[in-house]
């Protein structure tokens, strides 16, 4: 599994170009999250892809060839902060509810919805942590689950920032006329 971060122009069709590229390279996307950055013209994607280092290089380099992609970088193997968020609806009756509450506490998850027959649990953290909670909840009966997919950020001074959008393109216009 490889993790890539991409900064893209926040406009229609860009997600399609990115996902279509992965499809063309026959790379399966495990999760892809996208949201605006502090600059509303730029969106940030975290792409988790089923591929090896070579495939990730190809995806990274090919992504950066897309006009709308400002920066793409394979951050696998770096010191990363990773977050995934899940909402899990789990069956809960009067009897097992206390036991469930204990588990939720251990995983630092919280209950965000209560109904007579079920609870909705919100949990965020690494993929492993959520998978771990899911594992222990399964015997109770997981009725429904929604996950955001992973977002990742490199730790500390390892900054990944896009070039500023207000910079004029430095590319000169080509000579169209016939070669003399």
């Amino acid at each position: 599994m490889q993790t890539l971060v991409a900064y893209v122009e926040n406009k229609p069709g860009v997600l399609n170009r990115v996902s279509s590229l992965a499809r063309r390279l026959a790379i399966n996307i495990d999760s892809l999250t996208v949201g605006p950055t502090e600059n509303e013209e730029i969106a940030r994607m975290t792409i988790v892809a089923h591929t090896d280092e070579r495939g990730a290089h190809r995806l990274e380099a090919s992504l950066e060839k897309l006009v709308d992609v400002l920066l793409a970088e394979n951050i696998s193997g770096r010191a990363l902060l990773e977050r995934d968020l899940a909402l899990i609806k789990v069956a809960a009756d009067q009897q097992n509810r206390p036991h469930l509450m204990e588990l939720i506490k251990v995983f630092r998850a919280r209950v965000v919805g209560v109904a007579p027959e079920s609870l909705i649990i919100e949990v965020s953290g690494t993929v492993d942590k959520i998978d771990g909670l899911l594992e222990v909840l399964r015997p109770f009966g997981v009725l429904e689950m929604a996950r955001t997919g992973r977002i990742s950020m490199t730790r500390g001074s390892d900054l990944l920032r896009p070039p500023l959008l207000d910079l004029e393109s430095s590319v000169g216009e080509p000579e169209v006329t016939k070669a003399k």
């Binding site: 122009e9 069709g13 399609n16 170009r17 279509s20 590229l21 063309r24 070579r54 290089h57 190809r58 380099a61 090919s62 950066e64 060839k65 897309l66 006009v67 709308d68 400002l70 920066l71 896009p162 070039p163 500023l164 959008l165 910079l167 004029e168 393109s169 430095s170 590319v171 000169g172 216009e173 080509p174 000579e175 169209v176 006329t177 016939k178 070669a179």
Partner: protein, 570 residues
């Protein structure tokens, strides 16, 4: 100045330096055609939109500039798909402009509406829909920048009909291209560069693999200086042909599936491969597991996505070929390569004896003879535009190109039907050059309707049909790998000379070798288009051949007497 979107489009193209547009009108692009009529732009009416894209492609490749194709929405746009893909695979800068239904009905399956940007997303470098007249000029200027910069490629601009009809302020200075700023990558660090220099200076058996990128970069001079500095033998890809003179003793010729045996063997025996502007396509490497196993590899390439894609390299110098070569050359220590070069010459062995050109004239007409005669008669000075198949490989083997941009062919996509329209485009780009279309009887029948375009435009093109009555390359594969079961390859064709006459084009049929030179000479002297129908040996094959997936050194060599081998009466 207030103009309609259509007028802005024509004015922008004019200011960008465009002179010819290859296109076909229709409902959704009619406002632009109306404005075209009032502009100084010359519109070439094609007979099928695929032809328009190939013409723009041929124009771009011959001129080193950008070709422009135009079509209406729906079927007009979808007919362009093959041409766009052809340009994409060969990194050719083509700008396609398509009409689109009005923005108010987009997505409603209106008459002749199709999602052409969706369709062409994987086969364009970029594409965009324009729905406002005020966005047309900037978008077109951006399209031209994108098409030509970095690794070139096709760009499609889809303009809705209401954007063409609406009026907007047109101010050239206010609509400069504004592309998203990319991160500037430091292409390669000094460590990588130093490693490359060390490999270059310590190699005993180096071979350069020169590709299309040398010409795209305009690096011919820098390339030659680099070659001379290191005394490196040069092998070329199909699209690299012309980047270095064929007559130069260091030029080995074309590598790959139909490369000469000594070229492929030199690559297999090399201890260093220096790839410049090429992408290790399967047609040049053969089986990757056995490819140049003893060689270290340096890859000079502008497209980072090509690095380590097919072949893992020891040093990757990402950047424009000319810039990288100019940095490298001063670091090269001249070495005596006479032992290595003598060895390569020895590898030629009996290849020259087996060559069909060395064999006596039996009266039979072979495609290789025709190409060789064409080379001699034109003094190697013509622009040759080939189609795809056997004749394409024979051209690459027997027409010796000494100048860049003189062989135009569909390499990556291998598009049959490319030659005739691309030849028309090349002639528009280089009206004073002699342009020969060399095409098989199969490929010619795919786009021969463009003969009418030639007549309507009154251009002077020379067409050589290498007519063997088969889809020859496929027949050859059937002969070698399918036990001569010629399924769907025997091909009935019209009398091409009579057909050409029907279009109003002069034509001649050539059936013997003795007629070949004089027919070519007469065609060259004519100040109009001439079509020559060369009836060549039917079951001739292209040698050598590396079967698909086989090792590069594992070639099917030329038979010792190809005349006996192929002549039906032998």
């Amino acid at each position: 100045m207030k103009l309609t979107g259509a007028e802005i489009l024509c004015e922008t193209l004019t200011q960008l330096g465009v002179r010819e547009i290859f296109g076909y009108p229709g409902g959704a692009i009619l406002p632009v055609y109306d404005a075209l009529g009032k502009s100084k732009l010359h519109h070439v009416l094609v007979r099928h939109e695929q032809g328009a894209t190939h013409m723009a492609d041929g124009y771009a490749r011959a001129s080193g500039g950008i070709g422009v194709a135009m079509a209406t929405s729906g079927p007009g746009a979808t007919n362009m798909v093959t041409g766009i893909a052809t340009a994409m695979l060969d990194s050719s800068p083509v700008v396609c402009i398509t009409g689109q239904v009005s923005s108010k009905v987009l997505g409603s399956d209106a008459f002749q509406e199709i999602d052409i940007t969706g369709i062409t997303m994987p086969i364009t470098k970029h594409n965009v829909v324009v729905t406002h007249a005020g966005d047309i000029a900037r978008t077109l200027r951006e399209a031209f920048v994108i098409a030509k910069s970095g690794r070139p490629g096709p760009v499609l601009v889809d303009v809705t009909k209401d954007a063409q009809q609406a009026t907007a302020e047109f101010n050239w200075d206010a609509c400069t291209p504004k592309l998203p700023p990319k991160r500037i990558r430091t292409n390669h660090d000094q460590v990588e560069f130093g490693r490359a220099v060390e490999l270059l200076n310590t190699a005993k058996r180096p071979v350069i693999l020169a590709g299309h990128g040398v010409m795209v970069s305009g690096a011919m001079r820098a390339f030659e200086q680099f070659v001379r500095a290191g005394n490196y033998p040069v092998a070329m890809t199909l699209l690299g042909i012309g980047c270095f003179p064929a007559k130069d003793p260091l030029n080995l010729g074309m590598m790959g599936m139909h490369g000469e045996a000594w070229v492929n063997n030199a690559i297999q025996e090399a201890d260093l491969l220096i790839a410049v502007g090429m992408r290790f396509d399967d047609r040049v490497t053969g089986d990757l597991r056995t490819y140049a196993k003893g060689a270290r590899k340096i890859h000079i390439e502008i497209d980072r996505a090509e690095i380590n894609k097919n072949v893992k390299v020891d040093a990757a110098l990402v950047g424009d070929a000319r810039e990288v070569l100019e940095q490298l050359t001063p670091q090269i220590e001249t070495r005596d390569r006479s032992t290595w070069i003598r060895h390569i010459n020895e590898l030629k062995g009996d290849s020259a004896v087996r060559d069909i050109q060395s064999l006596p004239d039996t009266g039979h007409l072979y495609a290789a003879h025709v190409i060789n005669d064409l080379w001699k008669e034109t003094h190697g000075d013509a622009i040759v535009v080939t189609d795809v198949g056997q004749h394409q490989m024979w051209e690459a083997q027997y027409y010796h190109h000494d100048r860049p941009h003189t062989l135009i062919t569909s390499g990556g996509l291998g598009t049959m039907g490319f030659a005739l329209p691309a030849g028309i485009g090349a002639k528009f780009a280089k009206p004073d050059s002699e342009v020969w279309v060399v095409v098989g009887d199969g490929g010619f029948q795919m786009t021969m309707s463009e003969l009418a375009t030639i007549v309507q435009e009154k251009i002077n093109l020379k067409i050589a049909i290498i007519n063997n009555g088969y889809l020859g390359m496929v027949r050859q594969w059937q002969e070698f790998f399918y036990d001569k079961r010629y399924v769907a390859t025997p091909l009935v064709a019209p009398d091409f000379a009579a057909l050409a006459n029907a279009f109003g084009i002069r034509a001649e049929r050539v059936t013997t070798r003795s007629e070949s030179n004089s027919a070519i000479r007469a065609a060259r002297e004519a100040s109009e288009t001439v079509l020559l129908d060369f009836r060549v040996e039917q079951e001739d094959s292209v040698y050598p051949m590396v079967p698909a997936g086989a090792s590069l050194h594992d070639m099917i060599r030329r038979p010792h007497n190809p005349l006996v081998e192929t002549a039906s009466d032998a």
